[in-house]
């Protein structure tokens, strides 16, 4: 349920650490970019998993509800991670 948002958090704090450890270095931007690619891949994979039709328990309303919530969370996290990366390109 919280997978997407957790990835966002991990990504954010990774970026913060990178930026603090190597202030002003081009290395920071590169590292941040790498972290982002990984995070986006994971978020994208999760998005794919959560939007797949659930076959096992077609009647389990709650499970479906939680899966949709997770999917929306992943989508939002995807966008937020992209946002988070804009500074590494522009600054």
């Amino acid at each position: 349920m919280l997978s997407g948002l957790l990835i966002w958090a991990a990504h954010f704090f990774a970026l913060y650490m990178v930026a603090s450890l190597f202030p002003g270095a081009a290395l920071a931007n590169g590292l941040a970019f790498a972290v982002t690619v990984v995070s986006l891949a994971v978020a994208g994979w999760l998005l794919w998993v959560t939007t797949r039709p659930v076959e096992a328990e077609p009647n389990d309303v709650l499970k479906r509800w939680i899966t949709t919530l997770a999917a929306a969370g992943n989508a939002l996290a995807f966008v937020a991670i992209v946002y988070q990366t804009v500074p590494t390109v522009l600054l």
Binding site: V79, Y83, V86, P87, L90, L91
Partner: protein, 313 residues
Amino acid sequence: MFSGWPPPILDPAGPYASAISTLSWILFAMAALVLAVVLAALYVALFGRLELQRKLGGKRVIWFGGIAFPLVVLTGLLIYGLSLTRHLTDPITGDELRVRITGEMWWWRVAYLDNEGREVVHDANELHIPAGRPIVLELQSADVIHSFWVPRLSGKLDMVPGRRNLMRIQADRPGVFGGQCAEYCGGPHALMGFTVIAHEPGAFQRLMQSRLNRRRAPAPPAAVAGAQLFEAAGCAACHRIAGTRANGLAGPDLTHVGSRRTLGAGILPNNRGTMMGWIGNSQAIKPNNRMPPYTLLSSDQLTALATYLEAQK
């Protein structure tokens, strides 16, 4: 339009402030647009025709109005804002005029640096700059956190103990620009002002030359009494006047106090009357500032001191 319009932030006098002023107008337009959309939607939701309300009453509206619409607006803003940030923080080349400004409780120590970074001219609460070229300010603090801000020339930057922050300002044309400490620094934080005076480059050169080559002429007869009193009354313990025995460093440098526009860090016009009032009892004017009241001085003595200080150009 009305008294106070345009406000300083929207009335830039140099490139750093004017970029932000443009950004401000774009932001105001964005806010007005979004607010109009929300209010229109709210109006329809409450008073609109039924079929319009039906259209508004679904999840799709949330996806469009609450997610897609802000996403487009924010993405544009983010890219613009960050590019501007980058532009405004372009690396400092190093051949700019440098001035070190130190925030003190509750005034500003100003030191002009030469090419080797040595402090060559000292002043307080006032900064002279040449128009049309960027100046780099080295901002630091002697005690608590202050924040340097002259809104018509640039955004603000904090003065943090143990750190040195670099900031650029530039005025396009000669003029006088007010500023004020923006970070709460206790006591009379409200009365910690600052003035920037931009000159034609030639005039600025002459001013700096005259200060660099300042030769102490014998005090004019009217100021002799004041000069003696300045040492006798203890002023010299905290204040410095170059070329004299007054060498105190706790308070503002008074070498050029006679030419300053203001007294008490930007709060009083500088004339003989205000100077006398300030020396006699600055605590009544700016409570809790670090200068003790000199209520024991007679008005003749105050006049003498003021006359002496007036001559320190």
